[in-house]
Amino acid sequence: MNNKTSRRRFLQLSGSVLSAASLGMWPLNLIAGNSGKPTTYRVVIVGGGFGGATCAKYIKLFDPSIDVTLVERDVRFVTCPFSNLVIGGLRDINSITHDYSVLKKKYGINVVQGDVVDIDAVKNTLLLKNGKSLPYDKAVVSPGIDFLWNSVEGYTEKDVDILPHAWKAGKQTIVLKSQIEAMPDGGVVVIVAPPNPFRCPPGPYERASLIAGYLKQYKPKSKVVILDAKQKFSKMPLFTQAWDTLYPGMIEWVAGTSGGRVTEIDVAKKTVFNELGDPIAGAVVNYIPHQAAGAIARKADLTDASGWCPVNQKTFESTKHKNIHVIGDSAVATPLPKSGYAANSEGKMCAAAIVSELNAAVMPDPSYSNTCYSLIGKNYGISVAAVYRYDGNKIIKVKGSGGISPIKADDSFRRAEALYTSSWYANITRDTFS
């Protein structure tokens, strides 16, 4: 109890203490504790993407006395945002690759490279693949998405290098890019877009745009066909308008009920079949599988029948297991979309909730926002944005806020949004990783 009191005091002081620490200001029980050394709360975070990395950083900003460990499978993180620019040849993959050195050095976050294989919610312990375990007072699970491999006939996880998904950035991004570069002029790139809910709702359509941009320049007889499980998609009127302007006749979108729903794949022939049995062959097939919460969330019993993780939408604490919070794509945070920006926003609110609870303080009302840009051509950007609040029970969009870019806008507006697209990327990755 004493420790909690000291931490609360520390939190109140933290703003001034950190900038002008005078030793006399420090309460002795913080420095030494009752037993001669300080007891520290441990927060362990699973996954170093936009949700996890942001949450780790903001916990440290709110209360540096908390011991924060970030467990991430990879040494470097390649962002899904802007991976479509790599596929379209507008960016190098190194420019969308980030590491954790600043989070380690500047904020004192322990970064552990490893695979979390299970969470013991009774003993409050994470279990790593290498046999080690990490005890926690609070765990934050931010593993992103995983794929439901058996959602179509004839396709398994082993086929990803032949029919890449490129829906987790990195090696897969390069596989898809290389296939498009190697295909003959006049070939068809087939994109199979997944049903809702999935990571990055405008992503498949931005991808189609930037692939068309590459094809227009280098393989002008080629085209892109999007086979969609859905009847409509994010920013749809803006995308279709832009396709007519920039890539007339190059992008064909097929709605779910018009033969867009893919049920079977012949991997060797790079041919997909819709529910009507029609074969659609591609020189390149980008099959984006159906999705669910990251594997660890499912293993740790954090998901419900939907395959996603129900949470208290103020604190992001799992409604299934106490002291485990779930943020980012895995969490059910509707109407917030499954986007990097939303995950960043959730990471901050979750950090505030955890630090408040550990310091026995009341968390102020949370506020969330989302801003997602899509680049359609080098000088043509569009966006969707909104502001969200917690109504005491769930997250709601603030009435009147948000929406998509106007349909009626001139070239300079689209050019401005293209400029803001790259600034958005630079800023959000800076806020998350440094």
């Binding site: 420090w26 030494a32 540096p64 920006y341 102020p364 926002s369 944005a385 502001v387 009147g400 803001y420």
Partner: protein, 100 residues
Amino acid sequence: MQFVKLALWRCLVVMLVGLFQSVSAETIDQRTMLSITCSGCHSDENVGAIPSIAGKPAQYIEKALIDFRDDKRSSTVMGRHAKGYSDAEIKLIAEYFSAK
């Protein structure tokens, strides 16, 4: 012995404070809750076309947000964001960024 221990802890704390001096801490209050979600785009430095608003006068930020919200100042996305905040909330956001 206890004194030596304390002294050692003090040294450690001083070292840690040194390490963290470049980090500007955040206080958990309503101001911060409303504002940090803006920091995804508005950094403490200018990074590309989106301007940093850190350290700008509070009155300037407040007026800009109200004008964006009420469609008195044209914007690409800021009008859509500003419509999510009341006058009182805009004031808090302006205070937060002005103090950065």
